[in-house]
């Protein structure tokens, strides 16, 4: 324990502190949005959104280097393309029900492809694996502020629209009949998902972020019967996974992103196997 405190207060490990703080704070957004994604069954859409964020990252890098737009951060590109993907996938899933999966699959891979092409076109060499798989060394104190802003926004939104969002996720047709703009709220929810995803791309990367969004909520869903309890519990699980993963990565010299995901995945697997096991025993007796 004293070791841990020493490490966390040591000036050389500023990056680890930042990563831990961002991980803990982002868990608030992740727990809330993850619960919506899991209960509304849109993790596939969230996957497309996160992968298409790479298109924006590539485009931002390209514009940055080629046209000297030094203010253009790759993360800004990610936000723009993730939001665009959120709106497109949302509209597709509302209006083109039959071909939904095809279109979403296309957005998924075209987003990735566009990012890679932009990076090809950009002069100089880039280490793209930090975007794909996360790199905690990239986290700065600026990220902490961004996470705090998004947390505040998402918590406020959830407090203000909790019942509406619950009705929209449970039964959008009925919500529409009650005069609620169900499609509007749905697109809004996807946009919040996009922003949340971009936030944690730094830690776990584009490819794995979807697991960190859905696994804590999926685990939490096994223990609760109400939406708000599921949110609180998935915030807790997300915090635990982030912290444990960062710790494991740091002490064992492993990449932190994959460590977090492995811990989350194993926990989920354990919870569902235990539940199945319990059911089996119950049925037998």
């Amino acid at each position: 324990m004293t070791d841990l405190i020493q490490i966390l207060t040591h000036p050389d490990y500023q990056f680890l502190r930042n990563a831990l703080i961002v991980g803990l704070l982002a868990s608030i957004s992740f727990g809330i949005i993850g619960t919506y994604v899991v209960t509304k069954r849109i993790s596939y859409l969230a996957g497309a959104i996160s992968h298409s964020a790479f298109g924006g990252i590539g485009a931002a890098l390209y514009l940055n280097r080629t046209y000297g737009l030094s203010w253009l951060d790759p993360m800004m590109g990610a936000v723009v393309s993730a939001l665009a993907a959120a709106i497109i996938t949302g509209l597709v899933s509302i209006y083109a029900r039959e071909r939904e999966d095809t279109v979403i699959g296309a957005i998924w891979s075209v987003g990735m492809a566009a990012g890679l092409i932009f990076i090809d076109l950009t002069p100089g060499y880039f280490e793209i694996s930090s975007f794909l798989f996360g790199d905690i060394l990239l986290i700065s104190s600026k990220d902490i502020i961004m996470v705090l802003v998004l947390d505040t926004f998402i918590v406020a939104t959830t407090l203000l629209f909790y019942n509406r969002l619950l009705a929209v996720c449970f039964d959008d047709e009925f919500a529409t009949l009650r005069g609620i703009n169900a499609h509007g709220y749905y697109i809004f929810l996807l946009c919040l998902t996009a922003l949340t995803i971009v936030l944690l791309v730094r830690i776990v990367g584009i490819v794995m972020v979807i697991a960190l969004l859905t696994l804590p909520a999926a685990v939490a869903g096994k223990f609760t019967t109400r939406m708000w309890k599921m949110m609180l519990l998935s915030i807790f699980f997300c915090m635990a996974f982030n912290t444990a993963g960062l710790g494991l990565g740091f002490f064992q010299g492993l990449s932190s992103g994959p460590s977090i995901i492995i811990i989350a995945g194993l926990t989920y697997l354990m919870v569902i196997s235990l539940q199945k096991f319990k059911e089996l025993i119950k049925n037998r007796s």
Partner: protein, 297 residues
């Protein structure tokens, strides 16, 4: 299931003339006492006598025509069933009534106004099988959704909670308030969804397949509840199970691309043959005839 696919051409020809006749008949029906609002925008601003009025409505999903020249009126206080084979357009008709779909031609009026303008007067019970069964909601959460609405604060007031509790009491589900929705039986889920619809104090209750996926006993309870509710609201339900409904229902609307209304007294073998088409065998028992589930070959 082959017998359900009846060539629609014959039906069009045969049923084409009937709607007007029954449409004319139904206007004689009495008004229900409830409801005091005036229909605005019409020339004679009297209270509309028809809960549902459909004139020359056609609807197609892209290329596929589903409904053709539908004329239909359901008077206030009626208890009507929409029956017909699968794929005959029942659910489409229901969605048109709810304003979730727009007709390609023709007009639909609910208490004298377009459906989307009068949604506050419609209570709707969907099929529970369409809902995600693992969704984290309690019975009370579901019932309270019926209190949501445009231009109101998102939080539920004590009044809302009272209304939801009363509605749950009306369908005898008030002891399950804190139960996970998923833990209920099919019949109980359906009753909770009816309570949700009742929460908004509707004047017209639309139910989608309330008799599917529930056992006989629940079915009986359900119709007892509906019969009581019918004293203060118009009820319109969709079912593929005609035989059962004939005991409580006042009129039957048959949908197979076209629409025909029958009073329940005229339900007999020939009519059922007309609706479902061709060669099907029927078994009659306790004044009921069931076209499905009782087929013996």
């Amino acid at each position: 299931m082959g017998y359900l696919l009846y060539p629609p051409k014959n039906i069009v020809h045969h049923w084409g003339k009937i709607p007007k006749k029954w449409g004319g008949n139904s206007s004689k029906c009495k008004l229900s006492k409830k409801g005091s609002q005036l229909s605005s925008g019409t020339i004679n601003s009297v209270e509309p006598t028809q809960a549902v009025e459909i004139k020359n409505v056609s609807f197609a999903y892209q290329q596929r025509k589903v409904l053709r020249d539908v004329n239909l009126s359901v008077p206030r206080g009626d208890f009507a069933t929409i029956v017909g084979p699968n794929g005959g357009g029942k659910t489409t008709l229901l969605k048109l009534l709810l304003g979730l779909l727009k007709p390609n031609s023709g007009t639909i009026r609910i208490f004298g106004k377009p459906p989307e303008k009068n949604r506050c007067k419609i209570g709707y019970m969907p099929q529970y099988s369409h809902l995600d069964m693992q969704f984290p909601v309690t019975v009370m959460d579901v019932a309270l959704m019926g209190r949501l609405g445009k231009g109101r604060w998102d939080r539920y007031s004590a009044l809302d909670k009272n209304a939801a509790a009363t509605a749950l009491g009306e369908v005898k589900m008030d002891t399950f308030k804190k139960t996970h929705f998923n833990a209920l039986s099919g019949g109980q889920k359906q009753r909770v969804l009816i309570a949700r619809a009742l929460c908004s104090e509707p004047e017209l209750l639309l139910l989608d397949e309330p008799t599917s996926n529930i056992d006989q006993e629940s079915e009986k309870d359900l119709f007892k509840i509906l019969k009581r509710l019918n004293q203060r609201m118009t009820i319109l339900l969709v079912s593929h199970d005609l035989g059962f409904t004939s005991q409580v229902v006042k009129s039957v609307i048959c949908v197979n691309r076209q629409v025909v209304i029958h009073p329940t007294t005229t339900i007999d073998g020939t009519m059922i043959k007309d609706i479902y088409g061709g060669d099907l065998k029927m078994i009659r028992h306790d004044h009921r005839c069931c076209e499905m589930g009782h087929l013996h070959d």
